[in-house]
């Protein structure tokens, strides 16, 4: 039998998602006729038939993820084996060789040393394969769970002093910047394999954005070095790019610390997950009114609940608590 297997369509891309078949089982195809469209991390690519012949089988449906070397289709042929593309089926491809360099949320620019994720055997057959950002999320979360020693601390900050109409997200961005300056140890990357810490000069904040397709984490660059209007503009542009799916992969790489502002929906506290090589993530819950004892008696103040997770392998409880205190000090200001 002759198979056409998925080639590397970019420069080191390892997988692609089937978008559309342009032929059906049983079709006679001519050489270079477009047979299939697939989407890689970089592009939607039309694949031509490597040779003429009758197609007896198509592997995979639209939405399926195929790895380089996996069969795409089977030609009706006796035995000819004519090379790497249209060749005999070999054993299953080495799944552990899979490396995702693109679209890894918050990943480092150079994460070649990161061990491959632990792969589990399937416990049921069928089901829908995860795709796109959902798939990226699944991989990153597994890796984070396997690697990071995460500790979370929680507190409420009194934001009674805020002007009306204050923008909580921008205040959180500012507070994280202030806290990173106070405790730079949380604005670092940690490589557990080499036990090496890299201190960042700039603070590049990953901001979790929820979309119908799944979680995106675009990166707001240099939050300590830009003014508020510029940051707001930058954040809006990132959100817009995410919502229209025009965000380039490099805009989602290289975050040094993360903010998850889940309180815009619901929830008070969480144990946010740190995506390595980052070492900290701050979660912000829903703002609520609470009875507060003041010198003048009981007052209803608005409070913002905070959840800070840190990687205890390289960040001490003291550093984390001082970081949280710095966040709260900044948020408590008018």
């Amino acid at each position: 039998m002759k198979y056409f297997k998925l080639p590397d369509l970019g420069e080191g891309l390892q997988e692609a998602e089937i978008v559309e078949w342009h032929i059906a089982q049983g079709d006679e195809v001519s050489e270079d006729q477009t047979i299939l469209s697939v989407e890689t991390a970089k592009a939607i690519v039309d694949l031509p038939a490597p040779q003429a012949g009758k197609i007896v089988k198509l592997f995979g449906q639209p939405g399926d993820i195929v790895h380089v070397g996996d069969p795409l289709l089977e030609y009706d042929a006796e035995s000819d084996d004519s090379g790497t593309v249209v060749g005999e089926m070999s054993g299953p491809s080495d799944d552990n060789a899979v490396q995702e360099d693109d679209f890894i949320i918050g990943s480092a620019h150079d994460d070649a040393d990161v061990p491959a994720p632990v792969r589990e055997r399937s416990v049921f057959s069928g089901g829908t394969p995860l795709k796109g950002v959902q798939r990226v999320m699944a991989k990153n979360m597994s890796r984070a769970h396997a690697e990071v020693v995460s500790v979370s601390i929680h507190d409420d900050v009194d934001i009674h002093a805020w002007q009306s109409g204050e923008d909580p997200t921008m205040r959180l961005v500012r507070a994280i910047a202030a806290a990173c300056l106070a405790e730079p140890g949380l604005n670092t990357w940690y490589d557990g394999e080499r036990m090496a810490v890299k201190q960042h000069e700039h603070i590049d904040l990953g901001i979790a954005v929820d979309t119908p397709d799944g979680l995106f984490v675009p990166v707001l660059r240099d939050i300590a070095g830009r003014d508020r209007a510029d940051l707001r503009k930058g954040l809006n542009a990132l959100r817009e790019a995410v919502n229209t799916r025009k965000i380039p992969p490099e805009e989602m790489r290289g975050a040094t610390i993360t903010l998850s502002n889940f309180g815009t929906m619901a929830g008070r506290y969480a144990n946010p997950v740190i995506v390595p090589p980052m070492v900290a993530i701050l979660g912000a819950g829903k703002i609520r009114r609470q009875a507060v004892a003041t010198d003048d008696g009981i007052e209803a103040h608005r409070v913002l609940p905070l959840s800070l997770s840190f990687d205890h392998r390289c960040v001490s409880g003291g550093e984390a608590a001082r970081f949280l205190a710095a966040v709260m000090k900044d948020l408590g200001q008018p």
Binding site: K5, D8, L9, A43, D46, P48, A49, G83
Partner: protein
């Protein structure tokens, strides 16, 4: 993100003349063609461009089926390469960049070798014929330009009659190397012809975000050399400008910068997806100006071409491409120690040790 230069800036004092064109996008010509251009020449140009387009299409298909590495398509820019190549003589030296398949072919590089190069096999660079003294294709942006200026210095100091032709994209004209090469070329009056393939896109950066200059050709003015802007989709205009520049260079009258205005109808390379940053309407508009169709129309209108000739040309091209692909796929992989063999005339002891290890591990 960078932004286009605001339109409010003061108009520059230098106003470039309109680009040179003989055969308009419609296939009509509004002026007499240069004297040395006859039907045979035009038919040849047409055949060369058609062949290169077919090769280009096949190379992309080979990449999509895993039989070719990353490949930079020259779709739509065939007239730039063919017009340049047809103006060159054997005595000239060519210093190409990565989108110069068409000129390389006219320099005598076999189609098989062009595929071999992009198949990741550097032995494709063992050029023969006129190309024997040409330089390998240059992938880093603009570095070929200073090398070309150096080659022009060599020709001049040796008193060789030829000239150096080099080319680059519109993006390369923003690099320091571009200005450095132009500067010495003007200062030392080098026999150097620089052809800019202005295909409007430097990967995803459009021409208007590349430079504030109204034309790229006028960058020549500051270097004190002649700058010419041509319709890069008109093979006659490209030929005429390069021919003029070469005659000038060969007779010691100095360098020329030529901006050939064309359009990259394909992706930057097979690792790119241009639909992510440019509109379908812009591309379909550009197809109206592409180089092959307009020449075909001209030839038809002058009874110099017909359906029979077209059909037989396509048959020939198909055979040529099939042969080139078969020859390319039959090439034995390079020996593993090639990776070490080209750095020194005599291998150092350390390299020799590595070579022994490599051969033991991966076989000779």
């Amino acid at each position: 993100m960078s932004t286009p230069v605001p339109s409010s800036i003061e108009k520059p004092r230098y106003v470039a003349p309109p680009p040179l064109v003989y055969i308009e996008p419609s296939g009509k010509s509004n002026r007499d063609l240069p004297a040395q251009i006859d039907f045979d020449w035009l038919r040849q140009a047409y055949q060369h461009m058609s062949l290169i387009r077919a090769l280009d299409k096949k190379a992309v298909a080979l990449q999509r089926t895993g039989q070719m590495r990353t490949y930079p398509s020259c779709l739509g820019q065939e007239a730039v390469g063919i017009g340049t190549g047809m103006a060159m003589m054997d005595a000239d030296v060519y210093v190409p960049y990565y989108r110069d398949q068409a000129t390389l072919y006219l320099r005598g590089v076999q189609l098989k070798q062009i595929l071999q190069l992009w198949g990741g096999d550097e032995r494709g660079h063992l050029f023969d014929g006129a190309a024997k003294k040409d330089l390998p294709i240059c992938v880093p942006i603009a570095t070929q330009l200073t090398q070309a200026a150096g080659a022009a210095v060599a020709l001049k100091s040796k008193g060789v009659k030829g000239a150096v032709v080099t080319s680059c994209g519109d993006g390369a004209t923003s690099r320091g190397d571009f200005y450095e090469a132009l500067n010495v070329a003007g200062l030392w009056q080098l026999p150097l012809v620089t052809v800019i393939n202005n295909n409007q896109w430097a990967i995803s950066v459009p021409r208007q975000m590349q430079s504030g200059t109204p034309t790229l050709a006028q960058k020549a003015v500051a270097a004190g050399i002649e700058g010419i802007q041509v319709d890069g989709n008109d093979v006659v205009a490209v030929f005429d400008a390069v021919n003029h520049a070469l005659q000038k260079a060969r007779s010691g009258k100095g360098p020329t910068l030529i901006e050939a205005i064309t359009y990259r109808l394909g992706d930057h390379t097979t690792a790119d997806d241009a639909t992510r940053y440019r509109s379908a309407s812009e591309v379909s508009d550009a197809w109206q100006r592409e180089p092959i169709k307009r020449l075909q129309t001209w030839l038809h209108d002058h009874d110099a071409w017909d359906a029979t000739r077209e059909q037989s040309l396509h048959g020939e091209i198909k055979q040529q491409i099939e042969r080139a692909v078969a020859d390319y796929l039959a090439i034995e992989p390079a020996p593993v120690d090639d990776i070490l063999r080209y750095q020194y005339a005599d291998m150092t002891p350390a390299l020799e040790q590595q070579r022994t290890w490599l051969l033991q591990r991966h076989g000779g």
